[in-house]
């Protein structure tokens, strides 16, 4: 097995009885953007803080660039730059001095500092804002100053702690695009923490889904979405989440709402599982229709199922009626009812 640029081996962090990080193994390749995705309290931020050196692990190892970083290696010696959720700009310093601060700490000459700060400011088009203090900047501008401060040091690893969550929805999509472009251009190994699955899918070269201190699955966005390793990943990714049906005492059947379509809209000859779908409610959302209802026997009665039909499917669906819906068999997933683990695990 090839070793990654950032290696995490059996890492634990316990706060008293609480196991915030409970045995994490993770390998992040050089130049890769890995997203740590999970609900709040899953341990993703604690994991990132341990990589940064802000938190001392209870046990386990962290390696950056092949060198072990333990509590004797302070944050400043790790070559990591971090962008905080709140941006954590120094409120009493101008944008220029904020960006220059890590360079001053590194002991660069004033001339070299000026060159680098202006270079970073140009990249993020904030050259005209360098004289202002954080208070005088908008949310998006602050975020750019925070990014400049991280980039200007030319670090070995970027750590991003939900840097987009303080932006409004419109700005966030653009910022996400720009962030990914920046990361590709610089080619810096990046670890990105978020609880937003859309952000994770859009940004990550790979996603590590975390829950209760453990990594549940690591893989490309496509793979994690199509082949969730367990029912937690299946329902955490995707909006609306994957439909889970108790098939029998041992098996849970799973399929994505967008794979669940009227039978007539599946090409003839496709091997498909057919359901009698009792429609309760239809929502028109512009680009697609969300259809809520329940499937009949042989599945346990009363389980809610959601279908997500794109506008291209125009088959009429009426509330209160029973329609024939179907799922292509290749889109069906099965999980063990007791453990929640996927049966088809390992299928790529």
């Amino acid at each position: 097995m090839e070793t990654g640029f950032v290696e995490i081996r059996n890492l634990h962090k316990h706060f008293g009885e609480v196991r915030a990080v409970d045995g994490v193994d993770l390998s992040i390749k050089e130049g890769e953007l890995l997203v740590l995705l999970g609900p709040s309290g899953c341990g993703k931020t604690t994991l990132m803080r341990m990589i940064a050196g802000l938190e001392v692990p209870t046990s386990g190892q962290i390696l950056i660039g092949g060198e072990e970083v333990d509590e004797d290696v302070p944050p400043r010696a790790r070559g990591v730059a971090m962008v905080f959720q709140s941006y954590a700009l120094y409120p009493h310093k101008t944008a220029y001095d904020n960006i220059a601060f890590p360079l001053q700490a590194a002991g660069l000459t004033p001339a070299a500092i000026r060159g680098r700060v202006q270079g970073a400011a140009k990249r993020f088009s904030i050259g005209h804002l360098l004289g202002r203090r954080p208070r005088q900047l908008s949310g998006g501008e602050r975020q750019r100053v925070a990014l400049s401060r991280a980039v200007v040091r030319d670090p070995k690893v970027f750590l991003f702690d939900e840097p987009l969550s303080n932006l409004d929805a419109q700005l966030r999509a653009i910022a996400r695009y720009e962030l990914k472009e920046l990361q590709r251009e610089l080619g810096t190994t990046t670890i990105y923490v978020t609880h937003d699955q859309v952000e994770a899918m859009g940004l990550g070269d790979r996603i590590a889904v975390m829950n209760q201190g453990r990594v549940r699955q690591v893989g490309t966005p496509q793979h994690v979405y199509d082949h969730p390793a367990d029912t937690f990943v299946a329902t955490f990714l995707g909006s609306p989440p994957m439909n889970l049906l108790e098939q029998d005492a041992h098996t849970i059947l799973g399929f994505r709402p967008e794979s669940f379509v009227p039978r007539q809209d599946i090409p003839a000859g496709t091997d498909a599982e057919v359901f009698a779908f009792k429609v309760r409610q239809v929502e028109y959302l512009g680009a697609d229709r969300l259809i809520y209802g329940a499937v009949d026997t042989p599945y346990r009665a009363g389980q809610t199922v959601i279908a997500d039909l794109p506008v291209t499917i125009t088959t009429p669906v009426a509330e209160g009626r029973i329609h024939e819906f179907a799922v292509p068999r290749r889109a069906l997933r099965t999980f063990d009812a007791a453990t929640g683990l996927a049966r088809d695990r390992g299928a790529a």
Partner: protein
Amino acid sequence: MALPREARRPLPAAVAPLRRRTLADREDWLGRLMLAPALVYVVALVGVPFALALALAFSSARSGSLEFSWVGLRNFWAILPDPQFHRALWNTLRFTLVSQALVIVLAVTAAHVLSAAFVGRRLVRFLLLLPWAAPVALAAIGWTWIFDSTFSVINWTMLWLGLTKRWLYWFGEPQLATAAIIIVHVWRMFPFATVITLAGMSAIPQEISEAAVIDGAGFWRRFFQVNLPLLLPIITVAVLFGVVFTSTDLSVVYLLTRGGPYNSTHVLSSLAFQRGIFGGDLGQGAAVALFLLPVLVVVAILMLRTARRAEVGA
């Protein structure tokens, strides 16, 4: 929407008498009533003596006589060329500035130590606050023993450690008496300043300190470039409080040295007390005491401004 029958029935008649407005409903009068005790207190114990001092400063009043005549600025002309007054004015400034400078350094240091987690932190915090809570007369008596010409523990300790070869007469030499007074002032004000600084430190977002750590700044760079500038507004408030407390204080000088030796440690308030009460020249005493008023007004304005800025900021 139809309400159930029960709810539509009118309220029982017994409630009716309460419909009249009571004092509790009349916020304008209630407000005045509740402010009254504080107002009476301020007028009686601060306002009246202050007006009296103003009147006395321009009169020839003496204790033991009811005679009262206006003399204009004569009291001020009398004290202005007085070398003892110069000395007291200089001492007031000196004691205040030196003690507050020391207080800042000690308070910021102590606040940093106390913000770190260690066993017994609560006990240390409690002990630290004690000087502030101790009545000044009691404290001064304690300090007179500490500086006693025969039993001084400071002398005893310094001799034992070899820091001094001779016995120090703390209240017998002007320099030592000055040092003693400043030490007691620092001891009194420093817990208060520490607590204020601690509060200011807890208001700095933790992420900012962490950002500085990750940005590679060492302890001193973080301290001087990040923490101290962010603490500055609140330290200013602590210092201005300290300036007002120390410059107007009579008790420390009066209880420790009574202005001695050779009237070398008088401050304006102790000199005013000596002239006005012991000397019986109420007019001149008031004039001495009022001399600080313009300075304190400026300090008070600065204080209010800083407090307002600290509020708006963040």
